[in-house]
Amino acid sequence: MITLLRADLVRLRTLRSHHVVVAVLLGLVGLITWGSMSDAGSGGFDSPSELREPVTASVGILVAVVLALFAATRVAGEYRYGTISQRLLAAPRRTRLLIATMTTHAVLGLVLGAAALGLAAGIAAPMLADKELSMELSLPIVASTLLATVAFSIIGVSCGFIFRSQPVAVMVVAGTFVAEKLIGMFIGDAAAYLPYGLLTPLLRLEGATIGAGAAAISLVTITTAVTGLAFVLFKRRDVTP
């Protein structure tokens, strides 16, 4: 398993596009944080929960969704370029390969989520201190945000293995956001339990209709279900050119 993880890290490190994704993502989080904190203290934008929202949303939603898209594209790309065959030659027991891929992306989600939060906090803290304000980034909020980045990374990996096509996997990950909005019009409060809907209560954003604990449990349940489906399909399917 360690060998597989090391090889996957070499894979991640040796493509320039991967570095670009990380740089752009961190740059966006930094920009959003700096832009938001510039307005701190004006127009009633001064409570800790209000000040925290741009930070948790940019990491817990933006970073999480981009990581899901990245994972889905990367895994489906293995099928597109035929590299999945080479990976299976090294790790013919498919469960191990899938666990290794999910672990890589979960760790990436955790590290990148933590880095983005650290960057945002690093930018926001001195700006808020100047205005004698605070966003009170507590441990539960940090944990919820990181849960979002890790869970969405794993969901992205699962979508890649389930759909095996980059356009389809991306369409499903991105399209679910739009689909949720449409479905939400018909199912009312139950929409809060859909994957993207869960981010609002999980990150304690305004408009949450369920608690953060329930949201966390639901997100873990959805992630487990999608992962289970990916396991079943990946184990059963032939890998053809």
């Binding site: 597989l4 070499v10 590299t83 080479q86 030659l89």
Partner: protein
């Protein structure tokens, strides 16, 4: 010699289509075996089943005595070259670094295999910019990185120019001389004829030949003699009376079953003047086409597969 690759009564169905039909053959240790057949005959499916990428519908496929997935450290036993195995945006060196890490080989091995396949100068180029020949060399480097004893190569000569084919031939021969066992597929017999010791020919998923190449050629590629003479119809009758098979092609008699010495003597004895006589050895492609066309026209006319053990 012992069998290191065993395909036993292997069949594979894709939905309603039978891609491989009760295929059985073995590959002996230290030999180069050509796995031949037209496009869509089931070669790639069989190789992928050997490598654990495709699950047999029935039958068994074993490599180094086990199913691929049951091998401890499979890359140390088997090196495989498949249609595509490298990300086009990754450099050749980085691609091999990934494979070396998976195979738990030192990084120095990357430079060794790059040198072995003569790609050192292009090591830092992206794979997407490679020519077909370079792709094939990189595929070989990928297969060889873990120093395996068994090589499974899917269409390694595909798209190579004559120099590339010669290079591949010499390269594979040197590997076989070192004791490697090589199973390589191709849809062009002539591409691999000077490389392989043994051939397994399949068509429509069924085996049509499994024997040493020399025997196959001797059995299927009998000499044909093209003859033009002063009296074609008389000569034809004389030859047929001698037991020869005679047909006509562009005004010339095409004779099989007897050699030029018999034809010459017969013509001399019967006072027929020979204007032209040429012995034509059937080409490899003729043999290959003959085998696969025969199987298409009569699906029952195939080699019997061994019963499953």
């Amino acid at each position: 010699m012992s069998a290191v690759i065993e395909v036993d009564d292997f069949s594979k169905d894709y939905a309603d289509v039978r891609a491989v039909d009760h295929l059985s053959f073995t590959v002996e240790s230290g030999t180069i075996t050509g796995f031949l057949g037209p496009n869509g005959s089931g070669k790639t499916t069989t190789l992928r089943a050997l490598l654990g990428l495709v699950e047999p519908t029935s039958g068994t496929v074993r490599i180094a005595g086990s199913r691929y997935r049951d091998l401890d450290d499979p890359l140390r036993h088997v090196g495989a070259m498949l249609e595509s195995s490298a990300h086009p945006a990754r450099t050749a060196r980085n691609h091999l670094r990934v494979v070396a890490t998976e195979a738990r080989m030192p990084r120095t091995r990357v430079d060794e295999v790059l040198e072995l396949v003569e790609l050192t100068g292009s090591a830092n180029r992206r794979v997407g910019t490679f020519s077909l020949g370079m792709h094939q060399r990189l595929g070989l480097a990928t297969a060889l990185i873990s120093e395996p004893g068994i090589l499974v190569l899917d269409e390694p000569a595909n798209g190579l120019d004559p120099q590339g084919i010669r290079w591949l031939r010499d390269f594979l021969r040197s590997l076989a001389d070192e004791g490697h066992t090589i199973l390589l597929s191709s849809h062009v017999l002539a591409e691999v004829a000077q490389t392989v010791d043994h051939v397994v020919v399949i068509d429509h998923g069924r085996i049509v030949a499994d024997e040493p190449l020399d025997l196959l050629m001797a059995r299927n590629a009998g000499e044909r003699v093209h003859v033009r003479s002063s009296d074609q119809s008389a000569l034809r009758s004389y030859l047929q009376a001698e037991g020869a098979h005679v047909s006509e092609e562009a005004g010339a008699l095409v004779v099989t079953g007897v050699g030029t010495d018999v034809i010459g003597r017969l013509a001399f004895d019967r006072h027929v003047v020979i204007y032209e006589m040429a012995a034509v050895r059937a080409s490899l492609e003729d043999t290959f086409l003959e085998l696969t066309t025969a199987a298409q026209s009569d699906p029952s006319d195939t080699y019997p597969s061994e019963a499953p053990s």
